[in-house]
Symmetry: C2
Subunit: 381 residues, 2 copies
């Protein structure tokens, strides 16, 4: 099997991720913040180390500025619902994942005003339009760093600068960039960074997190036992525990930390470089084929490790099934849970696209095999 | 290390739980509901099998009546916020965990009326008072099955009967009973059952779920990608996917299913019987010691596998540290994230209790070692 569906979840994981997951769950009970025995203390050490590594990879210095969630979607929900109140204005793009558009749609019903600004699959969010809208006032700007459909890279440093200039908070959905594109929340003036742990960070499923800039206190999405301030009927006000009610997924978070350690050792730069090379190879190969339509930025531009295509004569889902069954290649088809992005792309009613998403563990041979398979399907094989 | 903190999280797990976790994460990518390649299909099969086993252990026939959450607390939050609206009346006890009291406290601020009825550490919720309050009308009754502080067993079949009679929905927090006490949602007239996966069900952390009786549609706690109805800006209305936005924690859920399979093989009855025997042995031993105060039901009554004590001359947290450091015994001290229960017990301002919670994997020797340790601490050693 050639796995080219890393934008859904990455596979394989570095060996240490598997080892740490198993070692942590085998070696003892103990729940983070619950209990004063050595197993619970060890859970505390593991969680703190994971927070520290998140700070290292995302550029913040206080490990307690990140809370852990069960996935990126939960982190986005927490950020949006933790910040936005009826009457607030929020600015977003026309290229968001349903993890952003659907919570916003719901908040819209409660009186939050949602502005969706023009977004080009080539360049991302229009900065001119963003500035015009910011001048009318906004509580929050939210967008993805990289589109999960086209790989389009939003100019997040510029968006952060503008948001900051006009007093709006800036939330970034890093689902497709955490671990494979450089992110520095302080330099990029990001107030809230939502990320999954099981994609680019190479951790297990069931992990994710939200960086919250110091000083911001969000409304909570869930309340319950936090292992601290148990005396009170209210959630603690400070500390990541405010947002982490219930038992944390310690073994998976400890394993995600090993994923981050692996990335820091390899360096983000070398990961990005290799993925870019594979993407260019893929696009080079596909561009030569009749019947292949490639969406998103031109080959010369920066893009995430995502290439969405349509094949003449194939419904995207049918195309993906053939790639799997006849060629042993795993890709994702359809709308990729991103309604607005496909509407913007004009592919909403055409069955979406076939999305090919290699990562650092793929080889040039994998990509060539994929190109050859698609060539066969286009009748040139 | 003798692990007697199973009410926080169970340890060890059955061997198959470790194996399934590792096998699932190692053997392929693929995210439930995302993609049409064989790895994604396999994730779908694993999730469906886990839903089916939940139905088997909790007595419901449609596997799609359960949605998975990251822990029990999330399931409770989803149930409470998914059902209750301003102006609704909710009845609960004075022995709840913060996972119930804190979300209720928040809902109270939004106009939900909260009635906390008398609850005896011996017998649980007062059925007389419950009926009186139900006569005044209520949208929901919520209580734990077993107290996480005292092991008190609530008469949930009777509570279900009464709630049903007066048209109130019934939500059970099964944090301390799922997997070690018989639960049948249909027979017990339970409309919503919230459970963790990493305690009595013997699964990994990061798992839990909410059974939702057919026909009930809850407001969602999170929205986002669901792998279905992606075309719409709204969440799907039917199916567990409505409540499962974002990538599901497939490997851990598949491993939890192995925990359930283990329990079904051993039978709940034999697990309950062994745990009861260990609890009686523990109470027998502790009752003989001067300076030990035991809370909760008398030895003759049914109780969960939880014994809370105070030791004369020791602050509970200090006592727990000594048990760990000098005797290698892991227990939990303090308030166990259950403010109301300790207030009801009169232990809120005394530093709470030392909670000893054995499970099926403990031996009589473990219990004897614990009794001996406490005897030493009481100056009789």
């Amino acid at each position: 099997m050639i796995y080219l569906d890393n934008a859904a979840t990455s596979w394989p994981k570095p060996e240490m991720v598997y080892c740490k997951l198993l070692e942590t769950i085998r070696s003892g009970g103990g729940s983070y913040g619950r209990g004063n025995h050595r197993m619970a203390s060890r859970a505390g050490d593991l969680i703190f180390e994971a927070r520290r590594l998140c700070g290292q990879i995302f550029g913040f210095s206080n490990p307690n500025d990140v809370c852990f969630t069960s996935n990126g979607t939960e982190a986005i929900n927490l950020a949006l619902k933790g910040i936005l109140e009826p009457g607030n204005r929020v600015i977003t793009t026309r290229m968001e994942h349903n993890s952003v558009t659907r919570p916003l749609q719901k908040l819209g019903k409660y009186g939050v005003e949602i502005i969706k600004i023009d977004t080009s699959p080539e360049e991302g969010m229009s900065l001119d339009q963003l500035e015009r809208e910011l001048k009318s006032g906004a509580k929050l700007v939210v967008c993805n760093h990289i589109s999960n459909v086209t790989g389009t890279v939003n100019p997040i440093a510029e968006i952060g600068e503008l948001s900051n200039k006009y007093g709006a908070l800036f939330l970034v959905d890093a689902a497709q960039s955490a671990g494979n594109k450089k992110i520095n929340v302080e330099e990029m003036k990001i107030d809230l960074l939502a990320f999954p742990g099981h994609k680019g960070l190479l951790g297990p499923m069931g992990t994710g997190g939200l960086y919250i800039r110091q000083g911001l206190v969000l409304n909570t999405l869930k309340e319950g036992g936090t292992g601290m301030d148990s005396h009170s009927l209210e959630q603690p006000v400070w500390g990541p525990q405010r947002y982490e009610s219930g038992s944390l997924n310690t073994p998976a978070i400890a394993a995600m930390a090993e994923g981050i350690r692996y990335i820091l050792d390899e360096t983000i730069e070398s990961i990005e470089k290799k993925e870019s090379r594979l993407v260019v190879q893929l696009m080079d190969g596909l561009e030569k084929l009749d019947g292949v339509r490639i969406f998103g930025p031109a080959k010369e531009r920066s893009r995430g490790s995502i290439v969405s295509i349509q094949l003449k004569g194939y419904d995207p889902s049918e195309g993906a099934v053939i790639l799997d069954e006849a060629f042993g290649i795993a890709v994702r088809s359809g709308l990729q849970c991103a309604r607005d992005a496909h509407e913007n792309l004009g592919t909403l009613n055409g069955g979406g696209t076939i999305r090919i998403s290699p990562n650092y563990f793929n080889s040039e041979q994998d990509i060539q095999h994929c190109i050859d398979a698609i060539e066969s399907m286009c009748g040139k094989g």
